[in-house]
């Protein structure tokens, strides 16, 4: 009998309080940062008269270094902050556009003025869902690609629970820095490389090509969806299995009837194979058949070779 989960209590505990917090935050939200009207461009020299520290660090960024080259489109203070004449006269922060304090639309549009290619990534990309470009990039940073952090650590800043799952005993080696989140995920949207239909199954098979088939003898879930058996981020069970072998198998298949056999505890000296001695245990058959199905069904993702039994050549044992 399945225990009923008290689902109805969950919103009351977590969602409602957070919803109230959201409303409070909404009320406390600062006014929208806007580009001042009637301002003119004054050039970066005027900006650097006061913001000289930014000028020095900006020169080391990818934008600043592109400027030194002189041939690429010039990126200066006003490329992102808009015309600064009013601000240079008044000195008031409100008189110049600050993308860092703008909402995600204004901020993203500012970046997309030049980085139009990202805008062209059709659909609701990460860019829209996240808080804007500045969630991951710092324009004044000297880091590669202006990233707040390098590698998967950047992603874990928001996706903390995924980092936790990667700490489980079986996992793709992301925390070890051997693979990165972007090996599977396209952070700016778009299709995955080396896949044609961009399905999840195809994404897995783009690296695990040995599982793609076609095989003579198939395992139906392999054709269906890898996540029926595996959690790609990590799991307690070996091989990223969502449940340990044999229980993952037993959620669809019955056990061999040998499991119900009583055994004996004695030295093995059977007539047919006297060289394979050892100690039989009383619960031997249960241990044999209840430990790991894949010990015998080794070719669980598919095989071209028939198993030994005539009545079950597709047993995936060979």
């Amino acid at each position: 009998m399945v225990n009923k989960i008290r689902f109805v209590n969950f919103p009351a505990r977590f969602v409602y309080p957070l919803f109230i917090v959201a409303i409070v935050l909404f009320c406390l939200s600062p006014p929208l940062m806007a580009v001042p009207e009637d301002a003119d461009y004054v050039g970066e020299e005027a900006c650097l008269m006061c913001h000289d520290a930014y000028g020095e660090s900006f020169g080391k960024t990818v934008h600043g270094r592109a400027n030194i080259a002189g041939e690429a489109p010039v990126v200066s203070c006003e490329s992102c902050h808009g015309p600064g004449s009013k601000h240079t006269e008044s000195g008031e922060p409100a008189d110049i556009f600050n993308p860092g304090k703008a909402n995600s639309y204004e901020q993203t549009e500012t970046c997309n003025t030049c980085h139009e290619k990202l805008k062209g990534n059709f659909g609701f990309s990460h860019l829209d869902i996240a808080g804007g470009c500045s969630d991951c990039h710092i324009v004044h940073s000297e880091n590669e690609q202006l990233l707040v952090k390098q590698g998967s650590d950047l992603c874990f800043g928001c996706h903390v629970e995924v980092r936790g799952v990667f700490s489980m005993p079986s996992h793709h080696p992301v925390l070890e820095d051997r693979l990165q989140c972007y090996d599977c995920h396209q952070v700016h949207g778009g299709g995955a490389k080396f896949t044609s239909m961009d399905t999840e199954r195809e994404l897995c098979l783009s690296c695990h090509v040995d599982k793609q088939g076609p095989f003579v003898f198939e395992h139906d879930p392999v054709n269906e969806d890898c996540s029926i058996c595996h959690n790609p981020h990590g799991s307690v069970a070996d091989n990223l299995l969502i449940q340990a072998d044999p229980f993952i198998c037993m959620s669809c298949h019955p056990l061999h009837f040998h499991t119900s056999l009583d055994g004996v505890e004695e030295e093995s000296s059977i007539r047919l194979h006297p060289d394979r001695g050892g100690l039989f245990t009383k619960d031997g058959f249960k241990r044999s058949m209840l430990t790991k199905c894949t010990q015998c069904h080794t070719q669980i993702h598919g095989s071209d070779l028939p198993a030994q039994s005539i009545s079950g050549p597709g047993g995936l044992t060979r």
């Binding site: 399945v2 969950f10 969602v15 917090v21 959201a22 909404f26 406390l28 929208l32 660090s57 080259a69 041939e71 659909g123 609701f124 808080g131 804007g132 969630d135 000297e142 800043g157 903390v160 629970e161 936790g164 799952v165 080696p173 070890e176 490389k193 239909m197 090509v209 793609q212 076609p214 198939e218 269906e224 969806d225 029926i228 070996d238 449940q243 669809c252 056990l255 040998h258 499991t259 056999l261 004996v264 004695e266 059977i270 007539r271 047919l272 194979h273 245990t281 031997g284 058959f285 241990r287 044999s288 790991k292 010990q295 070719q299 071209d304 028939p306 030994q308 005539i310 597709g314 044992t317």
Partner: protein, 574 residues
């Protein structure tokens, strides 16, 4: 294969040549150099070796080194970054821009994966007999104490040309390559079934290779964007397949009844191949276009691919198309709709097996069959996504979609079953100051007839009448199997997903992130049992960006998953 290796070699060599040319063209290059040195110490106390799948059970200090080189001038640049941990674990990447029209990148990485050892100690059993007869299972390890694992090497290279057509238009050509190689050793287990109940473990070499090669061409004519891509993949192993002598079929205890056991086996008393690595070839073509229409853009693609098993010429063919329409009705309202269709056919194959107990009383049943595949299917899906800007700092997202999988052979010929899925999602995002935001999501998914294993689990009521086989007047255990097992799935027919997270910028450099995710999956549609799985995952983290050169991160998350699912135990012997 040699032609493929030649093309890959040309591609990789080109990137290095362009790198050299690019660096040479930078006059007095200003190279930013970063050298990193560090290390870590691993201690293992009562730690099951397999748990260290990538830190493979070594209790040692591990040094780490890293080097970055970066230079940029005009439209030329190079950027190298590399990390060295040990000879089996390293990483390097090189990005080069030789000019406005030429870009290249090359990367290499490797890591070692410990595959663990199956000790086989659980495989010793003998049925409690009154006499010498009875079932038994024994094991034999041909390489006792062996360590198993392989090093995974991955090489990626990309080369991008931008060829000017006229003042406004370019033709972009992108050649990409990826090779993944596994080198090491693995354990292969051989099961001699029933006739001797003898399990053998063998240590075998691993030398698997997967090569991808793709070529893309993209161009734009005024408002129309066009693209074509071709991709080729080849998978093979350079290791000779393991060959093992399968014991002569006879009673595992007494050595008798050779004829009886032999008549139940496809092969015995001979050497046959075991665990043969696949040898496959995949080729795919993709044609895509994008065209602005009014306030939106329409995109379409046609994809066709074919995967061939080179051992036996079996093929999977796939043809698909997709359409996307993306429109901004106003600055506040953004709509995206898409539809996709994909037809996959997996070749059928006739399986010819020996007759069951041929020549013996009651035997001679013909068990030949045709292997149909549940991969043969038609997939249809459509999605609509709506983004509405509630205010300057808040967004509302709504998504809904429908998916239909129609399998031709599911999983037995003639069932013609299909799965349909419908989902709806509502998401709210609120951003109140820079780097501070709140996101809340609720997703509902209803699945009609999720992938189900038919007739493989549990006894069910009203199981019909068993008739003895002709000639021997007995009911066989496989006949009992057929009528005693029902349908099962561990997939939900109903799913609720709630995800709430918040980033709060507590002080200028410190961001606190907290969230909770809750998922409930249920399936009470089957007659045989109910299935339910819940996942609760709250998390909290602190992220301090102290400056451009240092940061501090601390966080924790709890992942709790509870599943109520059946486990089937056999209730009788034979």
């Amino acid at each position: 294969m040699n032609k493929l290796k030649f093309i890959i070699a040309i591609l990789v060599t080109s990137i290095f040549i362009f790198t050299a040319v690019s660096i040479a063209q930078i006059e007095a290059p200003d190279i930013q150099t970063t050298f990193r040195i560090g290390g870590h110490y691993t201690t293992l106390d009562d730690y099951y070796k397999k748990a260290g799948e990538f830190y493979y059970g070594k209790e040692d200090p591990f040094p780490e080194f890293g080097l970055s080189l970066y230079s940029m001038e005009d439209s030329k640049s190079f950027n190298f970054s590399g990390d060295y941990f040990d000879k089996k674990n390293m990483f390097g990447r090189l990005n080069v821009m030789a000019s406005d029209i030429l870009k290249g990148s090359f990367s290499y990485r490797s890591f070692y994966r410990n595959k663990g050892t199956d000790l086989l100690e659980n495989l010793m059993a003998k049925e409690k007999p009154d006499t010498l007869v009875g079932k038994s299972v024994t094991h034999e390890d041909t390489a006792p104490g062996a360590d198993y694992g392989y090093t995974r090497h991955e090489i990626n290279s990309d080369l991008e040309f931008k060829i000017p057509i006229d003042n406004k238009h370019d033709l972009k050509l992108i050649a990409a390559h990826r090779s993944i190689m596994h080198k090491g050793t693995e354990q292969k287990i051989v099961t001699m079934h029933c006739s001797s109940c003898h399990i053998q473990s063998h240590k075998v070499d691993v030398d698997r290779k997967s090569h991808n090669l793709s070529l893309d061409a993209q161009t734009a004519f005024d408002r129309l964007e066009l693209g074509y891509g071709i991709e080729y993949n080849y998978y093979d192993s350079d290791v000779k397949t393991l060959e093992v002598f399968y014991d002569t079929a006879q009673h595992p205890n007494t050595g008798g009844a050779i004829g009886e056991f032999d008549a139940r086996m496809n092969y015995n008393g001979e050497k046959v191949e075991v665990a043969r690595e696949p040898k496959t070839e995949k080729i795919s073509h993709r044609l895509n276009l994008k065209i602005p229409t009014g306030k939106g853009k329409l995109a379409g693609a046609f994809i066709t691919s074919s995967i061939k098993n080179k051992w036996n010429d079996l093929r999977i063919r796939s043809n698909g198309g997709l359409l996307k329409y993306d429109v901004n009705f106003s600055p506040e309202l953004h709509l995206l709709v898409d539809a996709k269709i994909n037809r996959i056919t997996n070749d059928e194959i006739f399986i010819d097996v020996a007759p069951w107990r041929e020549g013996l009383t009651g035997g001679g049943q013909d068990l030949d069959y045709t292997r149909y595949s549940n991969l043969t299917r038609t997939l249809l899906s459509s999605n609509a996504k709506l983004k509405y800007r509630l205010g300057p700092f808040s967004d509302l997202f709504f998504q809904t979609g429908y998916e239909r999988i129609k399998r031709d052979d599911y999983p037995e010929y003639g069932l013609n079953d299909k799965t349909t899925k419908f989902y709806g999602e509502l998401k709210f995002k609120y951003r109140f100051v820079r780097l501070s935001s709140l996101r809340a999501k609720y997703r509902f998914t209803s699945i009609d007839n999720p992938f189900t294993i038919f007739g493989k689990l549990l006894e069910y009521r009203g199981n019909g009448t068993l008739f003895p086989l002709p000639d021997n007047g007995k009911v066989n255990y496989f006949q009992r199997d057929e009528i005693r097992y029902g349908n099962a799935t561990n997939l939900p027919s109903l799913k609720h997903d709630i995800d709430v997270s918040m980033n709060v910028k507590a002080i200028k450099k410190l961001t606190i992130t907290g969230g909770v995710r809750y998922t409930l999956e249920k399936n009470d549609d089957l007659d045989t049992f109910d299935y339910e799985r819940t996942t609760l995952s709250p998390s909290l983290s602190f992220n301090l960006l102290g400056g451009p050169r240092w940061s501090f991160f601390a966080g924790g998350s709890l992942f709790k998953q509870t599943a109520n699912a059946p486990v089937a135990f056999a209730m009788f012997d034979g």
